[in-house]
Amino acid sequence: MPGKTQRWPKTDGFAYAGGTVTYLDDLRPPGLLHMAVVRSTRAGARLSTVDLSEAKRVPGVVRTLDGREAALHLNPIPYAMGDPELVGARRDRLLALAVDEVRYAGEPIAVVVAESPRAARAGASAASAAYEDLPDRGPDLLAGNEFRRGDPDTALASAPQRFEVTFSIDRSTSAPLEPRGYVAGWDERAGRLTVHAAHQQPFLLRAELAEVFGLAETAIRVVVPPVGGSFGLKMAGQPEEPLVCLMSMLCRRPVKWIESRAECFLAGAREQVHRVQAGFDRDGRVVAFRDEITIPVGAGSATPGWRQAYVSAATLPTAYAVPHVAISAKVLTTPLPPWQSCRGYGKETAVLVMERTMDLVARHTGLDPVEVRRRNLITPESMPYRMPSGYLVDSGDFPALLDKALRAADYRQSGAGSAEGLDGVGLAFEVTPEGGGHASGPLDGRQATSALPEAATVRLEPDGQIVVLSGVTNPGGGNDTSLAGLAAAELGVSRDRVTVVQGDTDRCPPGTGNASSRGTAVGGAAVVLAARDLAGALCKAAAAHEGVPAEEVSLRDGRVQLPHRVLGLDELSRVVDRDALSVTRTYRPETLRGPHETTAYRHSYPYFSSGAYVARVRVDPATGVVRVLALTAVHDCGRVIDEVLVEGQLQGAIAMGVGLALSESSLFDDDGTARSRSFKEYLIPRANDLPSFHIGHHETPAPGTLLGAKGAGEAGVGGALAAVANAVDNALAGHGAVVMTVPLTPPRVLDLLYRPGVRR
């Protein structure tokens, strides 16, 4: 008996609720050693010497390693998620440990391995390095990305009205509760490396390690235990990944590395400056949009983080059909820690910029922001809609979605405020390209891209249980529960009869792990195909065994339904050929084309989820403190597979969007030293910072996926960010202020309210 605890929605829920689930740091294989990383204290300097002699003397320290020694063992780290040239970027040679030169404060320059985590940390603190100044080179161009449509120069010049405005977005980060961590064990005799990793991309990590060590992929096993949140952070290409493995090889003992919170805060993304020019007519129709974007992505990195810069640019002008567009992005490497992927993957900043722009068009024309959006949204009739970047909006009914959100939020333009402060209401329309495929554009002789597949194996066990092995992983959001439900439905069993295995490269079929909101829409489709085939094979086998026509056999209520009797799945498993009990299928989303299109395009994001958001805020005009009073979202993720899971994803994403709008900012000193080292400096929302969110759904099935499902996971960050920013702008509009920067910290809000020369 399962007891009175409901097993749904999380299949193994009580292990979590009861605290017995084992995350990465709970793994302690015999003989375990612990690694700590020595990090550069300088940015953009020559690294003259790394002195590890004091570190070696710290009791408990077993082994140290500097960059020169590491380079004898390790090949450069390969780029995760495709060649940099795909998105117009320079290719760098990226080493796990710095040699001769450090690029940013916090860059790994050595590692220390010891008998305990404290000894390793003490050893790392005892290490020292000498640096020499280098001439300040300024930022380097990593990539230039340009997207055009129509004749933006002429259109801007001849537009009846236009404005120019600069928006800037602070650097921010993912900050999962569980930081990164790895345990590597090298089996010298078998020549086999086993890596447990709190990770989103086990197969990509395996490929990376194979290349860095010159090993065959079959010599490496990556296993992902339950993960304590990720939001993009735990992707492949991090220098500590090969380092912890190398130390296991050199020490011939398993080695663990757990990131400290301060190290975790080095990761960041989203910083960008947009110089926007918009041209429009008196009816609020935007005829031209130009955006010159500067995106400093920190130091070069093998992780996919910096690619978010491309996605930000390519996602413009988001949900709007603008005839004349010029997007030009300069992506720069700078002496700060490298960008890491963050929930939203660049799309959220594009949404912010476009939604602020639409509100400013409304302000210039005197129209309601709703009306301006209605007049510019891509219509359902023009789907699939090709964007200037080459991204293809597959589906959606944007006007209907907008209306639904307005009704749900009881939207109306607010008055100037109440006794307690200045009230504002803000609207945002969000599109989220999803499903994998960030590179875009016409083929035009350039390197082609194709849809990445996901695979699943579905198997009937002798005891009648179902096992699903999937190539997608679950960083904590619960897609395992969706996969179990999909398999259960195909096989006519209850969800608790299905066990989902993910994140083990020895057991699971290869897949992309967790990225780009495709766990259910693509990974789930593979499960459905495999489960469907297995169901067919089981019915056929049962029919043959019983001598009845196959079409009279079905799976229902956990049993095989025959014309005159029922058969348990466990019984069936004993009488059927073993080969028929397991099916593996792969699925890739379709590459759609625009109507009447003759040009061939790269495969890019196969589906777009969309959403409309309404935020209500109250601004304290004396202090600049902003309180979010209400937030309503109506979301179109195509077919909703599991409402509670989709809403859970949205709630988390919306909370992050509110944080980005109001408080989250990664700060650095002028010399590049991180100032945001704990949750006391980097402010993520707490329970009493947030209101309850009101969430609704609007389903337009994705034409390019088997289930009609789109993604949930990234969506909500940009929508909430933009809606809150617009609401603050609305609250301050009476003071002539224009919101151009996020987060809207109280000092910034006060600056907006009381600029010299602006009436109070």
Partner: protein, 160 residues
């Protein structure tokens, strides 16, 4: 002289170990006693993942040196309820899909249960305030608030 022998009652059992005097209680519980129900999320008292009951008091164990649990009674998340007889907060968190990755549960669960002992039928504002010592990045807290409300209901039903 830097090693510290300690004995304590941990989750209903008397245990003893010699630990580093400069370790923190979260590390001692995890490394010396294999506890999985406390976690080191920030080591700064901000996130709440290391929360346990020490002599009945809900505390962040990353802020304590190990002498603080010598002779004490310590209860961690593993000892709050069982699958067959879960604590009302555990049952409610499962029913309401309160958590996602689960890393924050030590703090969320103990804070919720401490609240309900003081205030059996709290308002949403009181719930949000009580949970405010714990960070969660997955859920936006909404289903935790629902979960605490539901846990209060379960407690009152059980009592009534």
């Amino acid at each position: 002289m830097t090693d510290l022998p300690i004995t304590l009652r941990l989750n209903g059992e008397d245990v003893a170990a010699t630990v580093d005097a400069d370790a923190t209680v979260v590390d001692v519980l995890r490394e010396s006693f294999g506890v999985t129900g406390v976690r080191a999320g920030c080591r700064n008292g901000d996130c709440g993942t290391c929360t346990a009951l020490v002599d009945g008091l809900c505390v962040k164990t990353c802020l304590q040196l190990p002498g603080r649990i010598d002779g004490a009674e310590v209860r961690t998340l593993e000892h709050l309820g069982t699958e067959d007889d879960p604590h009302p907060v555990q049952q409610a968190f499962l029913e309401c899909y309160s958590f996602q990755c689960g890393f924050c549960l030590p703090g969320m669960t103990f804070a919720a249960s401490a609240l309900l002992e003081h205030i059996p039928d709290p308002t949403d504002e009181e719930i949000r305030d009580a949970l405010s010592g714990n960070l969660c990045r997955c859920t936006g807290y909404q289903n935790f608030v629902r979960g605490v409300r539901r846990a209060g209901q379960i407690r009152r039903d059980d009592a009534g």
